[in-house]
Amino acid sequence: MMLTIENLTNEIDGKAILKGLSLSIKAGEIHAIMGPNGAGKSTLAYTLGGRPGYQVTGGNASFNGVNLFSLEPHERAAAGLFLGFQYPVEIPGVSNLQFLRESLNSQRKACGQEPLSGGEFIKLAKEKAALLGLDMEMLKRPVNVGFSGGEKKRAEMVQMGILDPKLAILDETDSGLDIDALKIVGAGINAIMRKPDKAVLLITHYQRLLDYVKPDFVHVLAAGRIVKSGGPELALELEREGYAEVVAA
């Protein structure tokens, strides 16, 4: 099992959000989590990523046999976890290339590998930028500063391509994308992550991303717990019937 979450509870500012969430993901699988606003979808992503303020109050999460919550956020990344942000953060004065090279070399150092040389890194960045149809010039600009919503999401996927994680948790990567960008991002996720030794947890409101990235399992998250799980047909049922109907059933 790549990721096993058991009975996870958490709180933010003393308010309970996740209320006993359990989920298992094997290598080679793509899981989608859908659910109404306020169900705790983003909270799950941030809690697994280790965002400060997202207090784990019970349960556990094991990532390739390691207790995820015993690791600092940067150690989780080095262990192979990638968190795709719904709202990617702008960092004025730090270029994408600098940001990614420092990140990659920090990860390599943590894994006992030599840092990548400037030339090797640029070659890698070019390859992944081309995959997502992002102009290399964009990567010379400060992280996310002045990027449109769609450019930010593509840049996130370029980051994922360069960092080459084992597990990607993508929080509403489809939001803010038009149809063309959605196709490109979907194809990028497949090219980078659809592999026997990798797994993806897609968090989304809508079925449309799932037309491009076919999930093996779909889960419904409501009021802090997984209330229903099924195959890809569950996403279509949700789209047709609405959350209220499915959650109540």
Binding site: H74, F99, E102, L163
Partner: protein, 255 residues
């Protein structure tokens, strides 16, 4: 009749505004401070000066500059103030007609350091311009101060002056003092000043950590970005290297 010699100048007290935040004990140890350095830029000339204030640990260093920039002349001054227990750099500048003064300065303080930049820029004639950009990074129990006054004489029409001052506090125990001051007697004048005191962006730090960057690297990168630009337009590459590497070395000790 008695004459007060220079050596008998009394030690300043905190009652004097421009010494209000200073480390007067450290100052007493080196009082009286050396005579000011004079820089005179002749009409139409362009000059570049810089100072790396990196006095040894526990030392006190006071640098006074008295600067006169004649008609149509220009002075670019780059300053990095990082050394000693007490490090003070003061500028008294007088601008001629159409002259320009540009100060780009950074303060990086740690431990118990008190570091300050004091400026008094007088636009004595019309059409002169001045720009001051100061970035301070303060950690532990350090104090960093910028006190800057711009004085515009009655005839100094079309004066254009700005002060941009930003301070970053790394610890709750560090202190930043920022005091821009304008004294304007002309009526056709543009004077802009902006001052902010902030902390490292927590969201950016988490974003960087989520990509695998260790906290020290992430902080250093954000702080480098914060002071970036201060030494961008140093003409002499060797000087630029020296200022930038001294700043980086100090930053790396701080995070």
């Amino acid at each position: 009749m008695t004459t007060l010699s220079l050596a008998a100048r009394p030690l300043p007290t905190r009652r004097a505004e421009e010494w209000r935040y200073s480390d007067l004990d450290a100052l007493a140890a080196i009082w009286p401070t050396p005579a000011p350095t004079h820089i005179d830029v002749a009409a139409g000339e362009t000059a570049h000066h810089h100072l790396l204030q990196d006095a040894g640990e526990g030392a006190a260093a006071v640098h006074d500059y008295v600067i006169s920039i004649a008609d149509g002349a220009r002075l670019d001054f780059h300053l990095l103030n990082i050394g000693g227990k007490f490090g003070r750099v003061a500028f008294t500048v007088t601008l001629g007609r159409g002259a320009h003064f540009e100060l780009n300065g950074a303060i990086i303080g740690s431990g118990e350091q008190t570091l300050e930049i004091i400026t008094s820029v007088t636009h004595a004639e019309p059409d002169a311009t001045s720009g001051q950009t100061i970035r301070s990074i303060l950690g532990q129990r350090a104090t960093g101060s910028y006190l800057g006054s711009i004085n515009v004489a009655r005839d100094a029409q079309r004066t254009d002056a700005f002060q941009s001052v930003k301070a970053m506090l790394l610890d709750r125990t560090a202190t930043a003092n920022v005091k821009p001051e304008l004294e304007i007697y002309a009526d056709d004048v543009k004077c802009a000043h902006g001052a902010t005191v902030g902390e490292l962006d927590k969201q950016a730090l988490f974003y960087m950590a989520s990509r695998g960057m260790d906290p020290a690297t992430a902080k250093t990168l954000l702080l480098k970005a914060f002071v970036a630009g201060v030494f961008d337009d140093v003409v002499d590459e060797a000087v630029k290297d020296r200022l930038e590497s001294a700043a980086l070395a100090k930053l790396e000790r701080l995070v």
